[in-house]
Amino acid sequence: MNDEPRSRTLRMLSPIFAFVVLIICWELFARYAGLDNLLVSGPLDVVEAFGDESDLLVEATWITAQEAVIGLFMACVVGISIGVILHLSPLLRDATLPVVVASQAVPTVVLAPLLVIAFGFGITTKIFIVALACFFPIVIGTFDGLRSADPQLLNLLRSLGAGRMRVLRLAELPAALPRMLSGIRIAATWAFIAAVFAEYAGSQGGLGYLIARGTPSFETSRVYAAILILTAASLTLYGLMALLERKLVPWERHAANQR
């Protein structure tokens, strides 16, 4: 019991320590490996790029963040709706589930350029691609979650005269919340990557655009900075979703503690 706070601090600090070591190694490599500065940028160069090109990076981040967040939101709306429909109608389930699964078998990477050709360079196409890449775990999380409701509880509500929709609202949807949110959290890890893919396929701005343009023109520091922002943004979005999960389904933690 006594050493628990210490071990917790240690657990918090050790990844930070690992990151610092990694960054030092990177700086040493960039400086002393004998490679051209044009080809490899060290952390200090990247920090410099952050300062010099902040306007450019902020603008690009804003564009990509909009695509990722709105795309994830659309994925939630569509994913939860499909999950509920699959749950409510066995007929639609049989018809829809294979299509939903098939949509995941088509790689987004190759689909993205085709969608850009079809729908243009605008933000709508990017949002569509992000939503397409993200909605699947949300569908599965919602669908499995709805089915995880205690059948005895459903019987109890039915014996009191609750109809299909009231059972859904009072028991199935709240019971589905933990798995639904897990699905959204998994989807959140994809949102920024999907947005960058979409920008790769054709765009006029955003972090993916900066990376796609910067790599062939040897803007190495800028590209590294964009990648770092992308990673941080992805982690932030994931963290926000994890926080949301903690706030919305406090009972999950307590159930885990009791086991």
Binding site: N155, L156, L157, S159, A162, R166, A175, P250, W251
Partner: protein, 249 residues
């Protein structure tokens, strides 16, 4: 068919049979089961595990149809299953209110109706407790208040205290008797605990092992005004228990 209510029966099961299929093999849960529960009566159905007791309550609550025979349910039934079925996303008070919300009562009204019951039945201060903060006995109390709040005259209780330790179970029986004295209801209690049946009910029906049918009936002559502990330690209780055990063997 017209059925007269001259006997004021709350529920009448006649020649009830239930066969269901479990993993491809037919299981006869009940066969030729007869029971009449009078309005306001407290009847316990006692039998070994798997004698179709829970099926009887499911039929009473209208969740399943008997294979043959008739179940005339004159009073609306509120079912209290074996497990408390409290939902973790609701507070204790809102869990109780769920019984009303399931019937379409608006949320605020349901909460307003549940609140005074918490006061009356010793749950004051626990309204906003989360379900995982409640002890087993407290959970059962909330589950019972939820059953009461359904506002139905016939309570069908399925092993309500089966998961509790014997000390807590005794306290819960006492609490239940107090609650029923304040809010009288018809009681159909299913249990495998003879002591519980004799402590809570005025009539005990002994059911045979599967397929379940009525083996014997005892009427319980509990002295007026005796406390639960006086009653369960009395010679009359011991005599009643002896005849129940004999009927079961």
């Amino acid at each position: 068919m017209y059925t007269s209510k001259q006997s004021l029966a709350a529920a009448k099961f006649a020649d009830l049979s239930l066969t269901y299929t479990s993993r491809g093999t037919p299981v006869v849960a009940l066969s030729g089961f007869d029971l009449t529960v009078g309005a306001g009566e407290r009847v316990a159905v006692v039998g070994p595990s798997g004698c179709g007791k829970s099926s009887l309550l499911a039929i009473a609550a209208g969740l399943i149809e008997p294979t043959s025979g008739t179940a005339e349910i004159e009073e609306a039934v509120a079912l209290m299953p074996q497990r408390d079925l409290l939902v973790p996303w609701r507070s204790a008070l809102r869990n109780a209110a769920l019984a009303l919300e399931a019937q379409g009562t608006p949320r605020a009204e349901a909460i307003a109706a549940a609140e005074p019951l918490f006061e009356r039945f010793g749950l004051a201060g626990f309204e906003n407790s989360r379900t995982w903060e409640l002890s087993g006995g407290m959970r059962q109390r909330v589950a019972f208040l939820r059953t009461m709040l359904a506002g139905r005259p016939l309570l069908a209780l399925d092993e309500p205290f089966g998961a509790l330790d014997s000390i807590t179970r005794g306290q819960m029986q006492e609490w239940l008797l107090g609650a029923l004295a304040a809010e009288p209801r018809t009681l159909l209690l299913v249990t495998h605990d003879i002591d519980e049946a004799l402590a809570l009910c005025s009539r005990v029906v002994i059911v045979t092992p599967r397929p379940g049918s009525v083996a014997a009936e005892l009427s319980v002559e509990r002295p007026e005004g005796s406390t639960r502990s006086e009653w369960i330690t009395s010679p009359e209780f011991a005599a009643a228990k002896a005849s129940a055990l004999e009927a079961l063997s």
